[in-house]
Amino acid sequence: MRGACTVFQKELLSYFVSPVSWIVAVVFYLWRGYELSSMAHYAMLVRADPDLFASATYTLPSTTAMVLLVPALLTMRCFAEERRTGSIELLATAPVRDGEVVLGKWAAATVFYALLWLPSCLLLHVLEYGPFLATDLSFGPVFAAYLGMFLLSAMLLAFGCFASSLTDNVLLAAMLAFLFDFGLVSLPAQVRANLGELAQHYYVRELLDKLDVGRNFDDWFARGLIDTSQVAFYAGGVLFFLFLCTASVASRRVA
């Protein structure tokens, strides 16, 4: 695991010094700031319930964009860039196993992504104080929403790593990851609509329910509910795509 830690530290540092990361953060918080201040204005007009206010911030369009677009952007360079510049050879000859490299890169992307989100939670806490909203917001649903988004993103980041390992073209890797993310969000609903009665068959329904990540986030996590079977689904997804990524990196080395 020492190799994985070394890769993790190097990758995390590279995220922090990358201009792209800071641009993403500025654009995201500008957008989110606009949305949240509009929400606060609306809450003033309708005397909104503070119990619903905090978790509602996780159903804003900026959240969707952040979950769908940013994992692909963060991971597109993971392996594709290394292969394009030839630095993959350095990694291949370094005393670290393929699995450790994959784990380190994925963990760095996931931690950076989580850190990118963390200020959104802290800001909600700041908003509780007197000069701002001066109310007790409920952080239970916020925790559930944050967990749901983190798990989904961890799976998408794992797929992003896998997509990046398939090609040496950074844009192609990003496109693959985008397609997967959008497919995962939009296809299950389409399939459900087209299956008609068959969609009510227990096993078909269970499968579609698990795969319909957007609906799961809106109906469960964003409402403060944690379904442990969903947690297992995302954890399994992370393991599966990390395995594929490791196998892909290993097969490239063989090739």
Partner: protein, 533 residues
């Protein structure tokens, strides 16, 4: 391609398939009913269904009962003509969303036994038409059809209107003009989805329709039709019908015995003593295995406070004439004593509920508060007949007293000295041994008779929303439909944020300018340091 590369690819493919199988197995295992859990982190557990609903759905799954929910939500046509219509559309949309979410939880809990069918007339005409014909849906409003089929039995169903049955709306023009200012558009007061859908589901599972008889002629003010007057019982009776009871009137002036099809007899707020003949008829009903629910209240009028009379003699109970009061907590903590008196709130008794009797056990376990108004003390009559067992159901706290009439003739709200304070019994269950059957020992013995006596008003229109569970539990238990004993889901108490414009302005400055600027500066600093190093 070399054999080595082929082998590597086959190896990769096999490994991926194996890993996929592990993923599927992990999810399948985690989705087993015994292992999966739903953790509700919302305040007041607003997204959780009641434990009774959970138990019901689990039971249905075990019994392999096929439960179906058919949603007929036609799309709105055209533009709303005015703001009221637009508001109705918004309410419909919200109710549809809440119902779909609720049914997802039912599916989650019920697993393979629960199926939800959502119909769309525009995109799936054939399927919608077939379902509409099967359930007699006319297509003019939003409806939820609840259908249930026990193994080997015919499917039964019940249609519920989204706007009328599953929600409580505040409609402009229906309010009392002397009351608060009228709303100009309809508003959604409360969503009743879980209570109504679970009740409908449970009533479908009960074969046959129990008949509840409301005894007439013993209350001079009883009103069981009006759903809005606080002292009337319209909502209680409607609730019983929703639970699947056939509610009928019983008058001893026309019939001299309780009909044989009676699942139970309900006597609400009697203000006259039962005549000997009628008391004997009621007792015969109970002694023959029948069920009787008596709900007395205190009335300040002279001669309006029956104490049980002949029926009390036969069943061994009696009521006092005076109302029971209890000290109330001091909200300002001005005293270190047990509470305050002199306030008419002392007439509202917060009761201790028996955790032993099946009617009150779940209420006691759930910690559901129960409050009655205008109660009188209830006690066992000296020399009570044998062959019956009495069990306390409801009791006041230890600091209660009997309100004796003051100089104005009304009960005095001031407490007596502390040494005269004592607890009073206000709810009692009596189990009556059956009479020996006429056919001798070979004939099957009839069931034991059951009587529940509650003193104090709690299931009239004012109290039914908060405290009606007890009344419905009593009726369901008496009708031997234990599955229907229910606790309504927690009522979410919403909070409000009262914001001023300067606060919102500060939020905007912080989030729209401050935070992005902070990130920009931090990013520039990092890049500067990196370039320098």
């Amino acid at each position: 391609m070399t054999a080595h590369r082929w082998a590597a690819r086959v190896n990769l493919l096999l490994g991926s398939a194996l890993m996929l199988a592990v993923w599927v197995l992990l999810v399948w295992t985690a989705s087993r009913p015994a292992l999966k859990t739903l953790i509700d982190l919302t305040p007041q557990q607003v997204n959780s269904v009641a434990p009774s609903t959970e138990a019901l759905l689990r039971e249905l799954r075990e019994q392999k009962v096929a439960v179906e929910f058919h949603l007929f939500f036609p799309r709105p046509v055209g533009q709303p003509a005015d703001e009221a219509m637009a508001q109705v559309l918004r309410i419909r949309g919200r109710l549809q969303e809440l119902t779909r979410l609720l049914l997802r939880r039912y599916q989650w809990l019920g697993g393979e036994s629960v199926a939800v069918f959502d119909y769309d007339l525009q995109s799936d005409i054939e399927r919608t038409r077939a379902a509409a014909l099967a359930f007699g849906y006319a297509g003019n409003e939003d409806a939820v059809v609840v259908a249930a089929a026990m193994p080997g039995r015919e499917r039964r169903f019940r249609s519920l209107s989204l706007l009328s049955d599953l929600a409580e709306l505040d409609l402009p023009g229906l309010r009392d003009p002397s009351g608060p200012a009228q709303a100009k558009v309809p508003t959604l007061k409360r969503y009743l989805g879980e209570v109504v859908l679970s009740s409908a589901l449970k009533s479908l599972l009960v074969q046959g329709t129990p008949v509840a008889y409301l005894l007439r002629g013993y209350s001079r003010t009883l009103n069981t039709d009006n759903p809005t007057i606080g002292a009337a019982y319209g909502r209680f009776v409607a609730g019983l019908r929703n639970l699947g009871f056939d509610v009928r009137d019983l008058s001893f002036s026309r019939e001299h015995a309780v009909p044989r099809d009676a699942a139970l007899v309900i006597v609400l707020e009697p203000d006259l003593e039962f005549t000997d003949v009628d008391a004997t008829a009621l007792f015969d009903h109970v002694a023959g295995g029948g069920r009787l629910f008596l709900n007395y209240v205190h009335s300040p009028r002279e001669g309006w406070g029956p104490t049980g009379g002949k029926l009390g003699e036969l069943l061994g109970y009696e009521l006092g004439q005076l109302p029971v009061f209890h000290l109330i907590p001091d909200p300002l903590r001005r005293t270190s004593g047990p509470g305050l008196d002199g306030n008419d709130a002392v007439a509202r008794l917060q009761l201790q509920v028996s955790a032993l009797h099946p009617v009150t056990r779940r209420l006691a376990q759930a910690g559901t508060p129960l409050e009655v108004g205008g109660a009188r003390g209830l006690r066992e009559r000296p020399g009570a007949p044998a062959g019956m067992r009495r069990e306390p159901l409801l009791q006041t706290g230890p600091h209660a007293w009997l309100g004796r009439p003051g100089r104005d003739g009304y009960p005095d709200l001031k407490a007596p000295p502390a040494n005269l304070l004592q607890p009073f019994l206000v709810g009692l269950a009596i189990e009556v041994d059956p009479k020996t059957p006429a056919g001798g020992p070979e004939t099957a013995a009839p069931p034991k008779g059951q009587v529940v006596i509650v003193s104090g008003a709690f299931c009239n229109n004012s109290g039914i929303e908060a405290f009606g569970d007890l009344a419905y539990n009593v009726c369901n238990w008496m009708a031997e439909r234990r599955v229907l004993m229910d606790i309504q889901s927690n009522q979410y108490a919403p909070r409000q944020m009262l914001l001023q414009t300067p606060q919102v302005e500060r939020v905007r400055w912080l989030l729209f300018y401050g935070v992005p600027l902070g990130f920009l500066l931090a990013g520039l600093a990092v890049l500067y340091v990196r370039r320098r190093s």
